[in-house]
């Protein structure tokens, strides 16, 4: 009897060991991208060629911006160090091909989430890190104060290969205005051409207008019209077919937003471990086993908050303090009148 019991316990132990082993590594095994990233030691992240506030490199080559912070958060979660990111600047035209052809693992480049992009070309959008809309910038002395003041023959400068081109057509067609689209490959060239007077208006996402306005020779001579002609939810994108990696990126972003909601920031994260609120404790890894489900350790979210900060900190550092868009508008938490609302991390 005892003989059998001993055998039985060892069998149970073996099964248990095997089971924990499989649950722990299943995520890692299933996700080729996660495995490759851990092997390489850095996250491969596709960003813009320079959009202040979103992804912009300084003279020393340090990237900053809210899009950049998403990649840094993933690096902090997966590799333990927010600086272990390799940034690849991409034009609007190159971005999706770079992702589907495995040159990058996350595309965090002010990219609008649309049905055809999500469903048709092998991509998956994981969330929204900035709610934007398309607007128009004009010269102050033109006297134009609304989009209804545009007349036949207006020339509009914009970027190539963006949803902007499509929205612009929909907008001018609905108003019955004949327009001249002038599309450039790079944002810097759009700015230069608009600045020179080649175009009467510059149209792109409003955040982009605010950021690019700084680059004009005299920013104060230009205004952004109040109307927003489209919905532009911008967010990070991953390749289709690696759902674990998709989850890691999605929840890295969600962690930042939820941390702000619960008042956890880079300064107080450690002390929050003793909080009374279980949701806060889960967020800093003091309760629950949420990391294991993603194939990560339990401190993954704590590292994101400590190294990158919560969404509010990222927004303030990159967009508000740089004077691009001091007002958060829709990008405020749902509890404060905005539309930032993420599913609970539990």
């Amino acid at each position: 009897m005892f003989k059998y019991l001993k055998q039985l316990t060892s069998l149970v132990a073996m099964v248990a060991v095997l089971f924990t082993f499989t649950t722990e590594t299943m995520a890692a095994k299933k996700s080729k991208t996660l495995k490759n990233t851990q092997k390489k030691g850095f996250v491969r992240c596709g960003v813009s060629q320079g959009l202040p506030g979103f992804s912009n490199a300084d003279a020393a080559g340090n990237w900053t911006g809210v899009d950049v912070d998403v990649c840094r958060a993933v690096a902090a979660a997966v590799l333990g160090d927010a600086n272990k990111v390799k940034f690849t600047p991409l034009s609007a035209k190159e971005r999706f091909t770079a992702l589907t052809s495995n040159e990058i693992d996350i595309l965090s480049r002010n990219t609008t989430w649309t049905l055809s992009r999500d469903a048709d070309i092998g991509l998956t959008f994981v969330g929204v890190n900035f709610y934007d809309g398309q607007g128009f910038m004009v010269r102050k002395n033109s006297g134009i104060s609304s989009v209804n003041d545009f007349k036949d023959g207006v020339s509009a400068c914009t970027n190539l290969g963006t949803t902007t081109e499509l929205n612009m057509r929909d907008f001018f067609n609905s108003k019955g205005i004949k327009y001249e689209p002038v599309t450039f490959e790079k944002a810097d060239e759009v700015v230069a051409a608009y600045d020179a007077g080649r175009c009467d208006t510059y149209t792109t996402d409003k955040s982009g207008l605010a950021a690019q306005r700084i680059k004009l020779s005299s920013p104060d001579d230009h205004i952004v019209l109040p109307e927003t002609i489209s919905k532009e939810p911008l967010g990070p994108v991953v390749r289709q077919g690696d759902s674990v990696w998709e989850d890691i990126v999605r929840w890295s972003l969600n962690t930042m937003i939820e941390a702000e909601e619960y008042g956890v920031n880079s300064a107080n994260a450690d002390s929050m471990k003793t909080s009374d609120n279980p949701a806060v404790k889960r967020l800093v890894g003091a309760e629950g086993e949420l990391g294991a489900a993603l194939g990560l350790d339990n401190d993954w979210s704590l590292r994101i908050i400590k190294q990158v900060g919560n969404y509010g900190e990222s927004y303030k550092r990159n967009i508000a303090d740089t004077g691009i868009l001091p007002d958060r508008g829709p990008n405020e938490l749902w509890t404060k009148g905005g539309i930032l609302y993420v599913p609970p991390a539990r």
Partner: protein, 381 residues
């Protein structure tokens, strides 16, 4: 059949097929894994984006195929303009480099060395951004001859509004056909009787007189539509009516022709210098005038040296026109391999079509130039 001769060729062919097979299989597997479908069906879908400048009627309600044609025609347009101007500038500069006048040949040499040693993209940027900024706004511009307006928004020129345009075109076709007949007759006459006919003056006369007759008797009538300034806002103006040449087209054509002309100039110089001095002296000694020496003895021989390398330059110019995307000229790369690719996400399909298109363009130019080269080759009599 000699097996030894054929076997290596067969093996090479097999390797090429295997390599292509491997790549297409690899692409197929990768696309399947990522849930990307392959097909050219998208070409008939509505494109839903507009293009700034188009030779055929086009807007976003047309198909992607139509957008492809718009891009292709724009590429051909800028290439043809570029080739014409590059050839004219190249021939003039090439001959100027051989001039005995120190000032003329030095100026030509400086031009060649300067323009061919600066990267083309930089020159395009220069002509577009630097020169564009120097152009006046539509409301500040001084009209040239009262009807041409060169502004930052483009070059506005008068357009012709035609009545009975077809009669006018027939008259030109008739003129060209009669010129061909005159040439054949002149050649025969020279071969049989040794008398030269002034073909050039007769040709010019024909091409002028026949269309003029069509105006007088054919009911052809053309009025001119002059661009008029139009206010868009308190500070914004543009021109309406007439034809608008976008500044992108002008800068690109200018940069391409100035750059390529340097290479053509060198081809021309090499060609003329390649004709041996004895030929010129022999021609002069039988009493030909300097003009006749150039036209009948030097040029026919020089052309045979000039044509093959110049063909290369024409091909280069056509391919270089794809830099258009940098300055918003809607060529094939910008419209089709740019916007259309982005909207559909069909990278492999669109890039393959674009590559095949450039290949066909280049091969067509090569075939034409080879035909011309054969035509002017020495014919043994």
């Amino acid at each position: 059949m000699n097996i030894k001769k054929i076997l290596p060729q067969l093996l090479t062919l097999l390797v090429v097929i295997l390599i292509f097979g491997f790549f297409s299989y690899n692409a197929q597997v990768n696309m399947e894994n990522r849930g990307i479908t392959f097909g050219y069906g998208f070409l008939s879908q509505e494109s839903s984006f507009d293009v700034q400048f188009s030779l055929i009627e086009y807007d976003g309600s047309h198909s992607y195929f139509r957008a492809y044609l718009v891009g292709l025609l724009n590429t051909i347009l800028v290439s043809v303009i570029g080739i014409i101007f590059a050839t004219i500038i190249g021939v003039v500069v090439g001959i100027a480099r051989l001039s005995n006048n120190y000032l003329i040949n030095r100026t030509a040499a400086v031009y060649v060395e300067f323009f061919r040693n600066i990267p083309l993209l930089l020159q395009i940027f220069f002509w577009y951004f630097a020169a564009l900024r120097a152009l006046p706004l539509p409301q500040d511009t001084e009209p040239m001859f009262g009807v041409f307006f060169l502004t930052i928004k483009g070059f506005f020129v008068p357009a012709f509004v035609w009545n009975n345009l077809d009669v006018f075109i027939y008259s030109i076709i008739a003129a060209i056909i009669s010129i061909i007949f005159v040439r054949i007759y002149a050649k025969k006459k020279q071969e049989n009787e040794g008398i030269q006919t002034p073909v050039l003056s007769i040709s010019i006369g024909l091409i002028l007189i026949l269309p003029i007759l069509s105006f007088i008797f054919g009911g052809v009538d053309a009025s001119v539509e002059i661009p008029v300034i139009k206010q868009l806002s308190q500070s914004g103006y543009t021109y309406e009516g007439g034809i608008k040449l976008p500044p992108e087209l002008i800068s690109l054509a200018l940069a391409l022709s100035l750059y390529t002309a340097t290479f053509i100039a060198e081809c021309v110089r090499a060609g003329v210098q390649g004709v041996s001095k004895g030929q010129k002296e022999a021609a002069a000694s039988i009493g030909l005038t300097p003009n006749q020496v150039l036209k009948l003895v030097v040029m026919p021989q020089a052309l045979r040296i000039i044509i093959p390398p110049t063909t290369n330059q024409y091909l280069n110019l056509t391919k270089n026109s794809s830099l258009a995307a940098a300055i918003a000229y809607p060529d094939l790369v910008l419209v089709f391999a740019g916007t259309a690719l982005m909207q559909t996400g069909r990278a492999i399909e669109i890039v393959s079509i674009t590559m095949l298109t450039y290949l066909s363009l280049s091969i067509s130019i090569s075939i034409f130039m080879n035909w011309y080269n054969k035509k002017i080759a020495i014919k043994e009599k």
